[in-house]
């Protein structure tokens, strides 16, 4: 049982590597893929491979599940669009829902949980009110948590829809306010693009992906009333910030797969320099560069010469990202712990963390 999640990384990078797997190998691969929330992605990647019949059944099941998650995610986004129809500002979809709504490769088979949207910080209370009017309510009625979110985090405390039981995270920037780096959320909103359809009833241009589509021609070319997504460079910046800043690299292989897909799809000669500029603007050069290197190293992403190279620390990231065994268990506890501590450092200054944990413990 010496395998680690390089088995999964290999299968995603090059599906042909699965051809030599025996029953035991497949069992281990599938357990890792499920533990890393990548089984739907794996199913998409292996579509062209001929796999053993038992494996084909499991992969078909993973596709059913991904379809379900995409259907729900897009519907939830559309519910938010309708709830915010009276709000004049931009509503930007983030992460998985954005990838699926835009028909990007990163969305294929991807697992999606909550709905994440980005709005202007000054409009938070207006957006909050509109959502509360349309059936969303607070998840945690705890005043300490509430104050904590509002003072230190990059989002409103999570809201949940009382009938659909789905969560929405309303962000006003992409990293916690306590983080060292300060991405320019205003610039991100400024460059965000409307989705190429208005949303709403009916089938339309991307009905295959069950997208947010409409048969009615869009009356407002400026994209009024449409949901937005980040510009490609900003999407990569956000994805990289999310990879390193959110938790202890949990779900890291999936987030890195997002980055691999985005880079592969956006890559043009013009793209790379503007990614560098944009990362610099958002104070995200280091995470973006590292994400690019790691994607190249693990998933074989084609990157320009000047982005290649290797940092002494990168090997620890690789060890952390692939720390999972054939039973789907997390391994390399020591490295995980280092990243856990690191990840809190990235998110908030130590004293604030201590205070946060103290309040949590006292309340039991």
């Amino acid at each position: 049982m010496s395998r680690d999640a390089m088995l999964l990384v290999d299968a995603l990078r090059d599906p042909a590597t699965t051809r030599g797997l025996d029953a035991q190998g497949w069992t281990e691969l599938l357990s890792m893929a499920r533990a890393e929330q990548l089984v739907g992605t794996l199913a998409e990647r292996l579509k062209i491979e001929s796999v053993p019949p038992k494996v084909a059944e499991i992969l078909a099941e993973a596709r059913i599940n991904a379809d379900y998650q995409h259907r729900s995610a897009l519907w939830e986004a559309d519910c938010a669009r309708r709830a915010l129809a009276g709000y004049g500002g931009k509503v930007v979809l983030l992460k998985g829902t954005a990838y699926v709504a835009s028909g990007l490769k990163a969305g294929e088979g991807r697992s999606i949980g909550d709905l994440d949207i980005l709005v202007a910080r000054d409009d938070l209370s207006q957006v909050e009110e509109a959502l509360l009017d349309s059936g969303w309510e607070w998840v945690k009625p705890d005043p300490y948590d509430d104050a904590y979110y509002r003072d230190h985090m990059h989002e409103l405390p999570p809201l949940i829809h009382k009938e659909r039981d789905r969560m929405i995270d309303v962000h006003h920037t992409i990293l916690p306010l306590t983080a060292r780096r300060r991405p320019d959320a205003v610039a991100m909103l400024g460059r965000s693009k409307p989705l190429p359809f208005r949303g709403g009833v009916g089938a339309g241009p991307v009905s295959v992906a069950q997208g947010l589509t409409s048969p009615t021609p869009d009356p407002s070319p400026e994209g009024e009333g449409r949901l937005h997504t980040l510009a490609p460079t900003d999407m990569v910046c956000h994805s990289a910030a999310h990879l390193f800043a959110d938790g202890d690299l949990a779900g890291g292989l999936r987030n890195l797969w997002d980055i691999h897909c985005l880079l592969s799809e956006f890559s043009t000669p013009d793209f790379w320099p503007s990614l560098g500029e944009r990362a610099n603007l958002h104070q995200l050069s280091e995470p973006v560069e590292r994400a690019v290197r790691l994607a190249h190293q693990l998933y074989g992403t084609q990157i320009p010469q000047e982005w290649a190279g290797w940092d002494r620390q990168d090997k620890w990231y690789v060890a952390r990202l692939t720390a999972r065994d054939g039973w789907g268990r997390p391994t390399r506890q020591f490295i995980r712990l280092i990243f856990y501590i690191r990840s809190h450092w990235l998110r908030m200054p130590l004293l604030m963390l201590a205070r946060h944990l103290w309040v949590k413990w006292r309340k039991g």
């Binding site: 035991q24 357990s31 038992k54 078909a60 059913i64 379809d67 789907g328």
Partner: protein
């Protein structure tokens, strides 16, 4: 990790355990079941912390699909932990059939499905009918095939609770019983291996012919259940109806429109069996 693999109906499980004892119990109770190479789900029984492997051993329930807040069980209840984890994989991961929280028995190729809250007696009833001329198909999950509409058997170990344990021991004294698990979160539990025909024919399903909503502890009565109510109750009894999307809707509406349904109240196993036989003769 100690390991055991088992095939139950269409689903194959790999169970890994940090301790030997639960694996030995599983191997003993499931010895007549096939042991597959490929498995659909992995289940893990692990110590909650490294110390808990030896000191007041405590079993955390893990696997491909997990609940974040599943409470650990003492090692003496490791078999229960394994069974719960296997159920959890089905409930959260299975997408090949519409999954109903229900029990089922078969006769002449036609299937009786019983569903209800826990305590309704659906599990005990299916076990009793299994020794009264019916073939036992499962006491926890009924799998409906989206293509044929048929019930696919899932005859895992029967889980008997409290007074049902003694009732079963007198009905089937020769059956193979697991250890008595006293003081579990659900009271006393004892597993029993399904009858031989249930295991031998577990690849063979049948068309659903009657749906019952049993309720234990009330004076004997039969009530018709309207299709709308049946539909609503079955969506609540399904863990994957929503995830299956259109296929789930089509499978469930077909079931509701073609299968008559009744709610039955009863106060003893004999009374229930007599009611079932009467309704079966009239409706199925």
């Amino acid at each position: 990790m100690h390991e055991f693999r088992v095939q139950v109906g269409p689903a194959a499980f790999r169970i890994g355990s940090a301790w030997r004892a639960p694996i030995d119990q599983l191997a003993h109770l499931y010895r007549d079941y096939p042991q597959p190479d490929f498995t659909d789900f992995t289940v893990r029984l692990e110590p909650t912390t490294w110390l808990r492997r030896w000191l007041r051993p405590s079993v955390a329930i893990g696997g491909d699909y997990m609940l974040p807040d599943a409470a650990p069980l003492p090692l003496a209840q490791g078999l229960l932990a394994a069974e719960m984890a296997m159920n959890l994989q089905m409930a959260l991961g299975w997408r090949r059939h519409l999954l109903l929280h229900a029990s089922a028995v078969e006769r002449d190729g036609r299937v009786l499905v019983m569903t209800g809250q826990s305590g309704s007696g659906k599990s005990t009833l299916s076990a009793l009918l299994g020794s009264e001329g019916w073939r036992f198909l499962g006491d926890e999950f009924v799998l409906l095939d989206p293509v044929t509409g048929n019930v696919v058997p899932f005859p895992r170990l029967i889980s008997l609770k409290n007074e049902a344990i003694a009732a079963m021991q007198s009905a089937q004294p020769d059956a193979r019983f697991g250890p008595l698990l006293a003081g579990t979160p659900k009271g006393d539990i004892r597993h029993v291996v399904p009858p031989a025909d249930a295991i031998a024919q577990m690849g063979q399903g049948g068309a659903p012919a009657l749906l019952l909503f049993p309720r234990y502890g009330y004076p004997g009565a039969v009530r018709e259940v309207a299709p709308g109510e049946t539909f609503m109750r079955l969506t609540q009894a399904s863990t994957n109806y929503v995830a299956l999307g259109e296929a789930g809707f089509i499978t469930l509406t077909r079931f509701v429109k073609s299968v008559p349904s009744r709610a039955i109240d009863y106060q003893s196993g004999d009374e229930a069996i007599a009611l079932v036989e009467k309704l079966w003769e009239r409706l199925a």
